[in-house]
């Protein structure tokens, strides 16, 4: 997949990748559909869709509560919920639907199998962490946090921000990208020698698909967990 041609187009002077935009739109539509149809007929006694939605909200709030102080969880709840659902659907999308043009450029795949997407979300987390820190502690106390435990720690603190940004984005990218790549490799194997390899490869493909689905869920969970950890670090004064 690494050597595949990438379909791009220009818009407003910026380069867009067709695969990312189309996949992103697919996830967007899926998510709106899920949210819309589960949130109909809200009642005090929840029914199927509402039960699911409330369980999901409790779940993402639970992730945030794990690290962010209880008083501030409410402000990040919507962000955590959207992020988790978006990443989860993005991770799973490429496992079930992969569309390519005749030229070999993929159009629909997991948006998170592109480092640019994951680093975008990672950057968003870092920005939110910075803003939250300034909002909670004020400029002075927020930036003096970088000088703790002592002044010479400053380069390490700045470097840590950078590594956090990279590891957060590249972790999820690595898992999802390798998952999709291996799916492609197994498919190539299946197609290589006709029916014989097909019979062997299909169970392997299914097993790997299942495992990747599991990994996709785990990675979405890990991403939100780590994001909330990074934010919570900025919300308190280091001793």
């Amino acid at each position: 997949m690494n050597g595949d041609p990438v379909s791009t187009f220009q818009f407003l002077g910026l380069t867009f990748s067709t695969a990312n935009v189309v996949s992103g739109l697919v996830v967007f539509v899926l998510m709106v559909a899920v949210i819309f149809f589960t949130s109909r007929k809200l009642a005090m006694k929840p029914t199927k869709g509402q039960n699911f939605l409330e369980w999901l909200i409790d779940f993402t709030n639970g992730i945030l509560k794990g690290s962010i102080p209880a008083g501030d969880v409410g402000k990040f709840g919507l962000w955590g919920f959207t992020l988790f659902l978006f990443l989860f659907l993005s991770n799973e999308l490429g496992l079930f639907i992969q569309v390519a043009t005749r030229g070999g450029a993929t159009i629909v795949r997991s948006p998170t199998s592109d480092p640019l997407t994951t680093l975008t979300f990672s950057l968003m987390t870092m920005m939110i962490a910075q803003f939250a820190g300034v909002w909670k502690l004020g400029y002075k106390r927020h930036f003096t946090n970088y000088l703790k435990p002592f002044v010479f720690w400053l380069p390490i603190s700045i470097f840590e921000e950078f590594t956090n940004f990279l590891t957060l984005g590249l972790r999820i990218f690595g898992v999802i990208f390798s998952g999709e790549m291996l799916l492609g490799v197994i498919w190539d194997l299946a197609a290589s020698h006709g029916i014989a390899t097909m019979i062997v490869a299909v169970p392997i493909e299914m097993a790997w698909q299942g495992f990747s689905a599991f990994l996709g869920a785990i990675q979405a969970f890990v991403f939100v967990t780590l994001s909330s950890v990074y934010i919570s670090q900025k919300l308190e004064v280091e001793e």
């Binding site: 997949m1 690494n2 990438v6 791009t8 818009f11 407003l12 910026l14 380069t15 867009f16 990748s17 990312n20 935009v21 992103g24 739109l25 967007f28 998510m31 709106v32 949210i35 819309f36 589960t38 949130s39 809200l42 009642a43 005090m44 929840p46 509402q50 939605l53 409330e54 909200i57 709840g77 919507l78 962000w79 919920f81 959207t82 992020l83 978006f86 948006p111 592109d114 480092p115 640019l116 997407t117 680093l119 975008t120 979300f121 950057l123 968003m124 990208f177």
Partner: protein
């Protein structure tokens, strides 16, 4: 794709913008469609449950109060009933004594009256009898005198007879 990123030959930064816009749009849609109403509903439910617990506690206390009041009223009415019964008993006792005393007094009076009456009657009868005897004696005497006054020998007999009557009367 990482190679594109590193080499930068066709770096599609537009995607970042696209994803940020998409994400913010999604957040807004979710907030309007689901997050707001659902969290409000969850909050409402939590409030309702805590209210229900509070009101259950309150009604339990009310019931306990009511039971206590009931028991107090019951004990009160029981003692009242006892007082009434004992009052009635003493009243009855008194009345009975009064009636008996009254009856005894009445009987006494009646007895005395009866004795007086009897005495009176006896006196009357006695005086009547005395008068009758006197009249009878006089009649008998007149008859005897008319028929046998001539016979002096009988005079002594009459005298003695009259004398006897007088003696009997005196006693």
């Amino acid at each position: 794709m990482l190679s594109h990123l590193v080499i930068g030959q066709s770096l599609y930064f537009g995607d970042s913008l696209f994803y940020i816009v998409t994400f913010l749009l999604l957040m807004w849609i979710i907030k309007v469609v689901a997050w707001g109403p659902v969290t409000k509903m969850m909050q409402d439910r939590a409030d309702k449950i805590s209210n229900d617990i509070d009101s259950a506690e309150k009604s339990r206390n009310d019931a306990a109060d009511l039971v206590q009041k009931r028991q107090a009223a019951l004990a009160n009415s029981r003692s009242e009933a006892q007082t009434i019964v004992s009052d009635a008993k003493t009243n009855g006792q008194q009345q009975r004594e009064q009636i008996v005393n009254q009856a005894q007094a009445d009987v006494q009076t009646m007895k005395q009256n009866a004795q007086k009456d009897i005495e009176q009657e006896r006196q009357d009868a006695l005086s009547n009898a005395r008068n009758d005897v006197a009249d009878l004696s006089i009649e008998i005497a007149s008859k005897i005198i008319q028929r046998e006054l001539k016979g002096d020998d009988q005079k002594a007999l009459i005298d003695s007879y009259i004398e006897g009557l007088g003696k009997q009367h005196e006693s």
